[in-house]
Symmetry: C2
Subunit: 512 residues, 2 copies
């Protein structure tokens, strides 16, 4: 198959390596997948086979995709099937001509191979590697190898600094007019921990700038962005976010749309199934997001407990010190806040139910969860101290006053309006309690199973679904008294979650 | 959705997690992929999302598959699409009910995480890890991480011994009545090197047992099994292979069907894109295949050159020593044969063309490539010495006599008949020479481009296609004289390869 025409414009001039795009409605997450007939001319002559990495060109756009070959006739010989991710990345329409090549050699991977043999990464090497990762040139197995080579306390502080800078450079960097730009991050592992909207309201009510980006749930029943999305729009572009923050001083938005340190998002998707808690990656991940958002002062919340990422006081001390050292080298001022993490914070688990807790605290309702209020005030207080809005040791008092006075609630409403209009979180119409089988005292709570019940009820996709937890450790309960209540949007989902909860009677353990 | 029936038999009793199998004709190589509607009950309630690892049960068979979610209606809500690999592994028919779960946690991966932090693998740890890999429980990214953790000269000899044994244990092990069972392996990187059929014929003509398994091409224009397949059937089961070897003393078959050290095949598919030449993996890979095939004495052919795996004499000495030490611990007698590897061996590149070279040597034809004959005789001679059929230093003379006398050719015909009947290799009907543009001396040959021309002409799928190389380094050529000739099965493929060859005039470089 010689070129039928010699001009290289794939969009208008079919050639031996040009194929018609066809949308294949398969979600492969972020991985671009291309489908070709195994008996097509291009597969035979180029030696393309399943798992070959292809370069696809359309107009000025070039992406890398993984090939899966197709037998049978659901695809024509001159068609190339493209997964959701590939269609989007290439920005192509059905029927457009896409040009196919072997992917050029992945030159930067030599640095990863070198690292396996103990050769430290230079700043330039990490810039090359991370740039290729952000451009989609590393397959998941290349990324896995890179992450593994970085694990085992092998990266020096200098390498982590370079890694962080390389990650920041792959995306947008926001800048603000304020001298001090505040941010917070929780190292994670604690369900429910929905302090962020409250903290942002308190801190910005005192005149500090806090452009907060949050994540959506991936394995949990709700992320901060999922809960916030029931109170106001959160899918803001970087420009919209800038307008909101310039207007009211702060925001709580979904970070995924703003293109901040996109390499981090890619790395995390491979770290998760490997369950790698590489300290180097964790530090680079946290700090790159904060630098990209333009923060100058960051509070890192480190819950320590049996189910959290950092499991001992000793480990938290070492981690805090290293984090601060590296942050300093990057020009970031980091305060760490180490706290106990044995129980969920707040009562609701699921987007709307968590949002309801947030509102109860901001509105000073009697039923507001005390633990959520206390933790929010502590965290906000330290940020006020770091931002010069309270004397050392007095931040929590100031924060409490801002909350009790209603100033935080007023400010939160302003933020929601600026993000597109305040919404009323609605909880599921269908609910059913799980009750104590006998009288006694609550001794333990199985957070993992509790989260699972909320997910079976539909959270986070069904935003009104989830669980309200009504029996913290130490609660004295009578037989038949509710331990927790399941909420769902449909009777079917309610039954499904209810049956599961009944199969595990010790999710909340009551000692007689 | 609760179970509609309480018996757990997925084939007859649909349940909330049971879905109808539907064949999706996509080749994902060995990776089992399952397709589910993202809006199906099971995805929503179980929290399955793209890239979730699923356990699929059908009857007594359980496999692990990677999920890709589907939008639109090409799949019904109660259907599960299965890739080729998944259909085969599960041995399921369209419409059968398949039960879906979250994959249980990958316990053995904790050993890999430990290894990243410098904790040596125990024998039991490697048995667990490699067993899970062979069972398909490791995704490609887990395998990549394992391979990376093993690279950088980190594995001790003891760990490599355990790794090899664990790999052997994942598949079949053949046993033979003979005391000595011979085998050979080439460390690779040299095109054309088709000595194996000749060596097996010589060695078994002298009464030694040599059950040789070979591979098919993956990135090259032909593997030994591809070339041999044009001379006799090669897709023999382990039982058929046993019958052939008991009958005529040897064979040259495709190893993929015999289930020998299957973990090795899985590891190699991830090593290849990573281009990891981990010495530990290479040694374990070679030796596990040899132990599984029941060999007692093995010659390892180590070509040293700029494009081969081992690139210096010093490296080959170190590698040889380590290989022999580890082989000894495994009860295998290994002889290494280090040779120069700067040029292809033989003339043909492509299955039939290489087979023709093999026949020319065995039949003592005048046009037989001298280099192929010389190398075959050297290698066979050393195996004869190791097997006690020649005195040390006299093996090559014995081998040459067996070849010249026609005994090797007779024995080769016997082997082909036993494998299912001798075939005549046929070369492509369409051919075209690439000629010298001016008179001069051939100074260099670009093996990589030469292989590519053969592949563009259709090799190895088109078995009759390829290249005959007619101008070794040092050849004096006149203007217009052929440097190499391209063979193809169709005029289109011939043109495609010819145009490519003309675009790179220095594939064979002629200095005036």
């Amino acid at each position: 198959m010689a070129d039928r025409q010699s001009t290289p414009d794939a969009a208008t001039a079919p050639c031996g390596r040009c194929l018609r795009a066809r949308h294949v409605s398969v979600d492969t997450l972020r991985e671009a997948v291309a489908y070709l007939r195994h008996d097509s001319q291009v597969c035979r002559s180029e030696g393309f086979a399943a798992q070959t990495r292809l370069q696809l060109d359309y107009g000025q756009t070039t992406i890398v995709a993984t090939l899966q070959t197709v037998t049978g006739d659901w695809l024509e010989l001159d068609e190339i099937g493209l997964s959701e991710a590939a269609m989007q990345a290439l920005d192509v329409a059905e029927g457009d001509w896409v040009r196919v090549h072997h992917m050029p050699p992945l030159e930067s991977f030599r640095h990863v191979r070198g690292r396996m043999y103990g050769e430290p990464f230079t700043h330039d090497a990490l810039t090359e590697v991370v740039g290729d990762i952000a451009a989609g040139r590393y397959s998941s197995i290349h990324i896995s190898s890179f992450l593994t080579a970085c694990t085992g306390n092998r990266l020096s502080d200098d390498e982590i600094v370079s890694l962080t800078q390389a990650m920041v450079a792959t995306g947008k960097t926001l800048t603000w007019r304020a001298d001090k730009v505040m941010d917070k991050h929780s190292v994670g592992g604690l369900p429910g921990n929905r302090t962020t909207p409250i903290v942002v309201a308190i801190v910005t009510a005192q005149g500090l700038v806090m452009p907060k980006t949050s994540s959506r749930a991936i394995t949990s029943p709700a992320g901060t962005a999922d809960a916030m999305a029931t109170l106001a729009p959160v899918d803001l572009s970087a420009d919209e976010m800038r307008r909101v923050v310039e207007d009211v001083g702060g925001c709580v938005v979904f970070g995924g749309a703003a293109n901040l340190s996109p390499a981090d998002d890619i790395l995390i998707q491979v770290e998760r199934p490997l369950e790698l808690d590489s300290e180097a990656q964790m530090i680079a991940s946290i700090l790159s997001k904060k630098l990209a958002v333009g923060a100058t002062h960051v509070l890192i919340d480190i819950p320590v407990g049996p189910t959290t990422k950092i499991r001992s006081d000793h480990a938290s001390t070492l981690f805090s010190e290293r984090l601060r050292t590296i942050a300093r080298a990057l020009g970031l001022d980091v305060v760490t806040y180490v706290c106990q993490g044995n129980e969920p914070v707040g009562r609701g688990i699921g987007p709307s139910l968590e949002a309801r807790d947030v509102l109860a605290v901001l509105q000073n309702r009697a039923r507001a969860p005390k633990d959520l209020m206390a933790k929010s005030v502590e965290v906000a207080g330290r940020i006020l101290e770091a931002g010069g809005k309270a004397l050392p040791g007095e931040g929590a008092q100031v924060a409490r006053r801002v909350l009790i006075s209603g100033l935080a609630w007023q400010q939160f409403q302003r933020i929601c309006e600026a993000q597109g209009g305040m919404l009323e979180p609605v909880v599921g119409r269908h609910s059913k309690p799980i009750t104590a089988r006998h009288a006694g005292v609550v001794t333990t709570v199985d957070n993992r199973h509790l989260s699972r019940v909320a997910k079976l009820a539909g959270a986070p996709l069904a935003t009104r679904a989830g669980v309200v937890f009504e029996s913290p450790i130490g609660t004295v309960v009578g037989a038949g008294q509710p331990l927790f209540t399941i909420y769902a949007e449909s009777p079917g989902e309610l039954e499904y979650a209810f049956e599961y909860a009944n199969r595990f009677p010790d999710i909340v353990c009551v000692r007689a």
